[in-house]
Symmetry: D2
Subunit: 149 residues, 4 copies
């Protein structure tokens, strides 16, 4: 019997993990981080991801695009308090659409407890301010480079 040739084309997981520290001004009168500040933590995560994988605001901008957030979701599992350190885990979600999708998990650094999960969706807007419906060339290259097909 002839052995079947199996080709596994795995898409590598692109992920960044960075630490953030809860600031006094981020904590509300219930002594926990105000829910709205998590969108900043997600942005911190996206920025760290962009710096690690060469997909930061500056790279995108240099290529003639901006990528406004068109959707954000955040679910809170347990609170963060003043002085806590947390890990923001940002994972790229490959999509055939002209969108940048990231998933987030935030963990309490000491306890490793899951604090929050979330997602953001960004679109590409060109220099005329028009929404771009096909993947920009530089972004296709970026996907090829990182095997996100």
């Amino acid at each position: 019997m002839k052995k079947k040739k199996v080709i596994l084309t795995e898409t590598p997981i692109l992920q960044n993990r960075r630490t953030i520290t809860v600031r006094f001004s981020e904590v509300d009168s219930l002594h926990v981080v105000w829910h709205g500040h998590y969108l900043r933590y997600f942005e911190d995560g996206r920025e760290a991801f962009g710096n690690q994988y060469g997909l930061g605001y500056m790279e995108v901008h240099k290529n003639g695009y901006v990528t406004p957030v068109v959707k954000s979701v955040c679910e809170h599992k347990s609170p963060l308090r003043y002085g806590d350190e947390a890990i923001v885990e940002t994972e790229y979600v490959s999509s055939p659409a002209a969108k940048l999708i990231f998933k987030f998990k935030i963990y309490h650094k000491q306890t490793e407890k899951l604090v929050a999960t979330g997602e953001t969706v960004q679109v590409f807007v060109d220099q005329k301010g028009e929404l771009v419906l096909t993947l920009p060339e530089f972004y296709q290259e970026w996907k090829r480079k990182w095997k996100q097909l």
Copy 2:
């Protein structure tokens, strides 16, 4: 023939509409409101709703509860710019669960264009910091009063 008695039990829609004005500090380097600030606009909407229908933070607190946001979703349809006025429309979503659910629509005041939609989910936490799984008595009363059954 006896006429059939028809009882229509309609749940009234509870809705608040308030105007907000975009501040300079809320606008980012793309000259539009930074996406994270919409969670503040939603909070502005919830507060106005609470004041109108007697379900504000103070009423909830007086009854021994706090209602942290455990989920928030925001979808952006068109931008807001510095100085723009917008209508935040906050609608109560009745649920059998011990949750406070609100849906939001934000419109540009002059153009009436839809700017964003969203949702927040809050839970009830008692004075011991425990999540409450059954509807608090004061909240059941509030629902009866407003026919949200």
Copy 3:
């Protein structure tokens, strides 16, 4: 005896008073407005002043200038709490220099207690990004119109 002619050349006081309401997200874990948010309240005051007297961001921008804040001072006299309403009183301070100076007083609306005082200083920067050392023409006109000489 001849009566002496007295000419009183009074500079009218230009002042705006607007109400703000303390948001949940502005209150810190000590249950009072976090000190940094007062610079937003001052900005709210400046914007209301600009709208009232025709010296808003848009007028300044239309004339080819931006007016970044180069100094801000805030002194806190008594706290503001969640839900409090406050009056932001913004007063224009005339100066021979190419500077926009405003003084602020914030009062608790119900108790009329003084909450904070402050000052901001702005400079004029032209479209090349250069600091302007002489009063821009449109600003001189504005000062003449409001007798701020």
Copy 4:
């Protein structure tokens, strides 16, 4: 002739230097950090100082006090832009009064250009919410330990 004994009692300078990175959400429509965010940078500096010298919020709180900011001053010398790194230099200012005074200097990390200077003043408030006019015992000890007499 007898030689005079000269005792030089120098007060050591207590200083912390930490790096911050400008976030996208901190940059305004003029493409520079919005002036109000500098009070957060100062707070970042105070927190780092507190951690380094054992005078953090937690130590103060453990001893029964909170230290609200009663005055803040910020002067802007040159702008910070998105992605810039800056050094926040926080220096303790010894005072006989029951006050915590810090001076701040912010430098652009790469160019070493001075970005901003500032000062904050904090007072001690006890658990009854009363302003304390004499130096709390733990703070006197702290001053002795660090030779800030």
